[in-house]
Symmetry: C2
Subunit: 339 residues, 2 copies
Amino acid sequence: MKSIIVAALLACCTTVQAADLDIAEIRSFHVGGRQVTLQGLPVTEVPFSPGSVPFRVDPNGDYQTGQMYVQSVVLARPRARYPLLLWHGGGLTGVSWETTPDGRPGFQMFFLRAGHSVYVSDSAERGRSSFSRSPEIYKTSPLFRTGNEAWSLFRIGPDGSYTTDPASRTAFTNTQFPIEAFSQFGRQTVPRWLDSDPMIQAAYDELVQKVCPCVIMTHSQGGLYGFQAALRAPDKVKALISLEPGTPPNPKLVTNTLKGVPFLIVWGDNIDKSTYWTKKIPPISDYRDALVEAGAVVDWIDLPKQGIMGNSHMVMMDRNSDRVADLIQDWMVRQNLMQ
Amino acid sequence: MKSIIVAALLACCTTVQAADLDIAEIRSFHVGGRQVTLQGLPVTEVPFSPGSVPFRVDPNGDYQTGQMYVQSVVLARPRARYPLLLWHGGGLTGVSWETTPDGRPGFQMFFLRAGHSVYVSDSAERGRSSFSRSPEIYKTSPLFRTGNEAWSLFRIGPDGSYTTDPASRTAFTNTQFPIEAFSQFGRQTVPRWLDSDPMIQAAYDELVQKVCPCVIMTHSQGGLYGFQAALRAPDKVKALISLEPGTPPNPKLVTNTLKGVPFLIVWGDNIDKSTYWTKKIPPISDYRDALVEAGAVVDWIDLPKQGIMGNSHMVMMDRNSDRVADLIQDWMVRQNLMQ
């Protein structure tokens, strides 16, 4: 009997490898948006594929616009108190969190393994959230980012150091970005529009109302949406982690409703070598001061000051992404965000 | 000792609920595409967000174009012989497979639970695959689908039966589509371009070379890409399941390299009430005949002839989606595609 039980125990437990994830459900949905009806546009006949039966295309009718795509991976037995929402930066989508460009597991997998159910979204207008006709619904044209711009804006190399020939590019000597995978990273780039902040924020606010209480982790442009979400739903946002936030809200908007809410702001390396990012720090610093004044718990981490050198703006993709994630997970433990 | 082992056994095995999924890894990547360099375009200065530091936008430089986004969910212990690739239809993305519009688990979850590792992609130009500047890279403008068109094209209701007011719409009396969730479905709509078939096919062909041998399931426009992928890599495509395929390749392209390859073609209901779909059947039927002639194993299922009534074009979203998935899974078992 004992040997049967031992055999059953071994058979059972070899099916629970430490490395596997026990998932209750993977699902997706769209939040936010509204219906718009267009009228008076010309009707055409087009084949959907070459040689296909022509189809009458009447653009007059109802469109959904402003919605946001969200994919959730829910653990069977989460060890975190709240789900973790990952909000990407400008010109990108939720793909930022999924896998590093050189093929290592991304922050999505790291935090799933650390015990968090994870929600990854694409900002309204980007990726699976879709965009709308212009000029009838969207009033402006999209902006497309070049590899040249990404290379310096994301602090992989100094301003002006990008060249089309990868062999001639100059990265920061200490860069942690996997530069051999830069074109794979470039494939993640999506267009953005410059007048869409209110639409994007509205969808994020609706997501918070739908799935929170939660912890939110933002990157870059997503920082603004996260700071604003915390202002609008201080009871629902149990912690906010801002990786290299781009632009803060007006500090005057901060009130003591944020008292006790933990904030973590994380910065990579080589900021002093970037004209753009050097200008970005003071407004975020002022916003930090307003949060502290209001009684929030704010931690500000300059990775180089902790001896973690060479991180680009894309910290979740850098070679040491697991080390940065470990540091964030440790912070979450200290903030009592794990069960 | 015995009681300790029994306690350990119970503690261990209550962590393996039948309903949970044991996942080795969730990851994503982009395949295909190429780099394009643009020159001679005007430079502008714009703030990324209102009030943000203006940023110099130089559109001259390198862009990635034509790439395709793929997300894989790999089971720790798959029971299928090959991974299952899910290729969506026109004007949509991989979201089609993730969850039904009324919130039930989609085909992705069904086939994961049935023992398949699943790869969901967004056709190049759509969703997380991104699109490119026009007229410099893309030569044409995108086509945006109205709810009006989707309602009849996807055979939820007869031609001309859509109205903006949901209460006044007339669906087919036997429809299985969850019409109360039609606006949630509309939020999944993305624009498409009409001259992009070769670009999309190239990315799918590269995916097949990267991750197959595999089984491919296509929907609607994806049918063409699946049929062509099987023609180009008959050794890699171990079976092809075409849900309501839109347009076939030229039947003259079929050769006996496809001998023994199993094909399943599935049709919903109310096709005789749709001018568009009535015209779509004969070319697919001719292609089926060419496959049979070449020695392929072809099953053609009209769901209503099996007593399964009311399916729309969006069979994976219909209320009876699990029943249709069961039928497909049974077919895969019979084709010896499970271990």
